[in-house]
Amino acid sequence: MKRGKKLITLLLATVLLASVAFTGCSDKGSASKLPTLKILTDDSDTAKRYAQAFQGMWQKELGIKVEIDSTTFKDRLQRTQEGDFQIVMAGWGPDYNDPMTFMDMWVTDGPFNEGGYANPEYDELIAKAKASPDNDERMDLMAQAEKILIEDMAIGPIYFRYRDYIKNPKLQGEVRRAFAPDPDFYWASIEDGDSITFNIGTEPPDMDPQTTTDTVSFQLLGHTFEGLTRLDQEGKAMPGMAKDWEVSDDGLEWTFNLRDDAKWSDGKPVTAHDFEYAWKRALDPELASQYAYILYYIENAEEYYNGEASVDDVGVEAVDDTTLKVRLALPAPFFDTLVAFGTFMPLNEEYHKSVGDKYASEADKMIYNGPFVMTTWDHDSKVVLKKNPDYWNADEIKLETIEGLMIKDANSALNEFLTGGLDIVGVRGDQKEQVKKEGYELLHYADGSSWYFLFNLEDEILANENIRKALTYSINRQAFVEKILQDDSKVGLGFVPPVMPGKSGSFREEVGDLFQDYDIKTAKKCLEKGIEELGLE
Amino acid sequence: MAEKLLEVNDLKVSFFTYAGEVQAVRGVSFHVNKGETLAIVGESGCGKSVTVHSLMRLIPSPPGKIKEGSIIFDGIDIISLSEKQMNEVRGSKMGMIFQDPMTSLNPTMTISQQIMEGIMRHKDVSKKEAFEEAIRILELVEIPNARKRANNYPHQFSGGMRQRVMIAIAIACNPMLLIADEPTTALDVTIQAQIIDLMKAIQKKMNTSIILITHDLGVVADIADRVNVMYAGEIVESGTLNEIFYDPYHPYTWGLLESVPRLDMAEDKPLVPIPGTPPDLLDPPKGCPFADRCKYAMVICKEQHPEMTSCSKTHKVSCWLTHPDAPKVERPLGGMKIE
């Protein structure tokens, strides 16, 4: 009986395959009417491998010819921003712990809306969500907006990135959050000792909190500085320099009460003025900080940066040494987590004036207020962080020393780990086998990013929604993740990644998948319809 | 009778190449007396250079190898010497002058250094003494301003001057035998005569024996006491200068003499090159090696190798024409005069 069943399945499969092959043929006929499309990619081997995978899938499933247009990394970014492309694979990582960091990208003429998507309905939903102080309502509005985004197929979701790492089993308590995924050693400890070594990969390009943009610098700043709040293990705001805070009913007025025992590493107290000074500095058009936009929730911040308002109009004010009042332009219930972000770190005006341009250029050209202080910054080689004895919560900090090496090559880093030179190291897909053989347990973390096809909606062909749908539906994401990425990434069937919070749990889980992975049938229908609409028949 | 300095018996030298064994020298026997000059003449590739290089064991090995024969020099069996013992002979008892003075001197050493090197190798002298000795020898070979020019490099000298330096190197340790491998070939005609004169003068002063290799019969006539004619790795005729020039027996010797211009030659008489090419020494013929190019060749010439026969006490030839049964042939050359 079992045997018979198997045979029938086999037979069925053959018929199915044959029919697929047959329809495949006829489809190629219609698809060939579509001009060859181009997928833009940078010239790294990995990027090209990804593009080739999609190229193969589109060719095989739909008979669509796609050319790979590879260029330098910088040029790829440039061309994407200038709209000189048809399809490009892009990724977005969260700036703060709320789906809005993803959703407000696609509002009409938004600075990050590189595909040129414009839908008034979407814009209205986002505006409403931004204006609402009620979390459940906001989440509902964003869920509706995401549905429209995917129905319009403004972008074609591919995957949510999860990565692997291994660590010294003696190391405990390191935290990797979805946003700011690099390990946070605030709660970490190590058996038989109090010092650990990890790999920061590269020289921190800019340790100035107000101007820096890169993850290495932000990670080091997270350990050596502290904002008004700090993220706890779950990514929620916990008291930092502020011992508590209140928010008005309309969600626009925030009052942070600073602790009076907080000190800079040179002994001066940390005051509300240090925050006001730093935030206004970040918005100073002269400083030209790339991350200035992250402060735009604050009233008149954007206007000041664009020269339409004066510095005094900016809605941040140190009422006294321990009280900071912030007026927001829009209610942002997540503002308490936002202020934990690097750009919001305080800066003592007096100290800053004393070092001038040299600020943050060397370990001793900065003062710190975080759980650790940077004692050594050996450029391009390593940094050493030592426990800050004056930190208000020093009793909770178990590590005395954190050493950060700058090893760029992933294999070298793994080798260093294997000889005991590192206590924690990231593992690439192709290193997984070796790591397992060495007997280490693979650990996973979400880096919070969402990866998708960015379509140029101003392109003649890609302006057609059905063509975009055909391209998106026909991708076999499961196979892509398993065969090409080889890491722990998850199939993306919506835009906001699962790690973003929703009403109570995960936004993604609450909203659910918005389409089906590898839906060839629908893809084909869409393709035919698209070709017809484009008048290519 | 003159005292023999060098005696070579049945010397055979081969080069082992990818193509096979090249028998460059095939059973050569000759001797050199003290104080005399022996010239070895023949076309390029006839084995004359290989023969004399063998005397100093300077054949590159591999691929070259002395297969058979003996070389007795000043009572020493050269072939049986170890390399170390051989180095005691080279440069001290035998000196050698090479063909091209432009390439035979080390470009990165001063000439005095190059002369002193040999002196210090063989004589127990200080550096200073060696230098003085070098100056003396440079003066002997008539380098003007010897002391001043001793520290010059070879490129600062003309070709003729360099050959004088070469001679200085060769005679630095007062050798009993000076081997000159075509010492004038690369030089201008006027310089050639100067070098030959210099060699003669040195010979007179030092009573050195000289083996001179050349294909220039004019030079031979100028300096040689006796002559060996070599062809295809063999000596085909040997005799005194007069015997070879006035009474040659071998058609190859005739050919050689006919192919050079002479003062006494009738003006309308053309120079006659020897037709054909020498035999392939990878596979030498079993008969007379010259038979293919010889217009007097008989059947036996290709079949059997002629034996070396004596025509006089000093004159020997290897040719079937000297056999009593051979037909008499008219020698193409009339009587000739030697300057």
């Binding site: 600075p111 | 440069g91 000196g95």
Partner: protein
């Protein structure tokens, strides 16, 4: 001699000027802009940043400004490494690359020449084949493979040397070896060819005919002449190997200049590209000059002074 040096100096200055100009133009033709980041920057912010670094001015104006600063010895600030001047990056990183390079080069020279000589002297025999096999491996196996393998087997498996970093002598062993191997192979092959050529020269026969022992013939007459062609490539070689090598420095996480050679171009760090190019050119020009003088010392036939006859 003084006139020669003066002439060479002016020549070098002109060369550097041409290099600076061409690099400046080519660099600006390169796709991408320095402040294009992974996250697109709002228009106003980019404009502000470009204004800050003077990138809003037309290219000819920027060229004039750059050249004026260059004359004052000011290479400018890096556009990516916000707080570091190009001068300080070179000053801090070059000594490390130079140290690594010179170690690798010394190793490559000593071992390479030795192998080449051994091969030539034993032409066609076992040692010839052994050294040429080493040379072929050195030439054909890229340094990232050699480096990676050594790091894993010698560093991780045998624990003989540290895996990454640049602190003690022990840290320098594998990288110097990995970096030098290719040069070693080039040296060995070159020396072998040159030595074989020299050993066939007539003056070697002259030396032998003097009764000199083989050792003296090889050393005094062979090597000195055979080394001449090797000296000629030493200039570019030293310049290339001491100014940073991306691959080896990357594998062993050595804080040298190598990483900047690649990253400056990838990140369109204009000032750093200019600074590194000019620095490399300067070293190259200087090295070639030194080698020319050296060559005059080694080879008496070469004279630096125009001959007056």
């Amino acid at each position: 001699m003084g006139r020669y040096i003066g002439k060479r100096f002016l020549h070098s200055i002109f060369t550097l000027f041409i290099i600076a100009t061409v690099t400046f133009i080519l660099m600006n033709l390169m796709p991408g802009k320095p402040f294009t980041g992974e996250k697109p920057i709002p228009e106003e912010i980019r404009k502000n940043m470009e204004a800050k670094y003077g990138l809003d001015k037309p290219i000819h104006e920027r060229y004039v400004i750059y050249m004026k600063n260059l004359l004052r010895g000011d290479l400018g600030m890096s556009m990516v490494h916000k707080h570091r001047s190009v001068g300080s990056i070179i000053k801090e990183r070059f000594p490390i690359s130079a140290s690594l390079g010179l170690r690798a080069l010394s190793f490559a020279l000593i071992a390479g020449l030795f192998l080449g000589i051994i091969a030539a002297v034993n032409h066609g025999k076992t040692w010839d084949y052994v050294s040429m096999i080493i040379a072929v491996i050195g030439v054909s196996v890229p340094s990232f493979i050699i480096g990676g393998l050594l790091q894993y087997f010698v560093g991780v498996k045998l624990r003989l040397f540290p895996v990454t970093g640049w602190e003690s002598f022990k840290h320098t062993v594998i990288p110097s070896f990995a970096l030098g191997l290719g040069t070693l192979a080039v040296m060995a092959r070159m020396m072998r060819t040159s030595m074989l050529d020299v050993l066939n020269q007539d003056y070697i026969k002259t030396a032998k005919a003097k009764g000199l022992p083989r050792r003296a013939v090889v050393w005094r007459h062979g090597i000195r002449n055979a080394i001449l062609p090797v000296v000629t490539i030493l200039g570019p070689l030293v310049a290339g190997i001491t100014t940073g090598t991306f691959v080896v420095e990357n594998i062993f996480a050595i804080p040298g200049l190598g990483q900047f050679l690649v990253s400056s171009v990838n990140q369109n760090d204009y000032t750093l590209i200019m600074g590194l190019t000019l620095f490399y050119s300067l070293i190259l020009v200087t090295m070639n000059f030194i080698v020319d003088i050296l060559y005059g010392i080694v080879d008496p036939r070469i004279t630096l002074v125009e001959r007056k006859e």
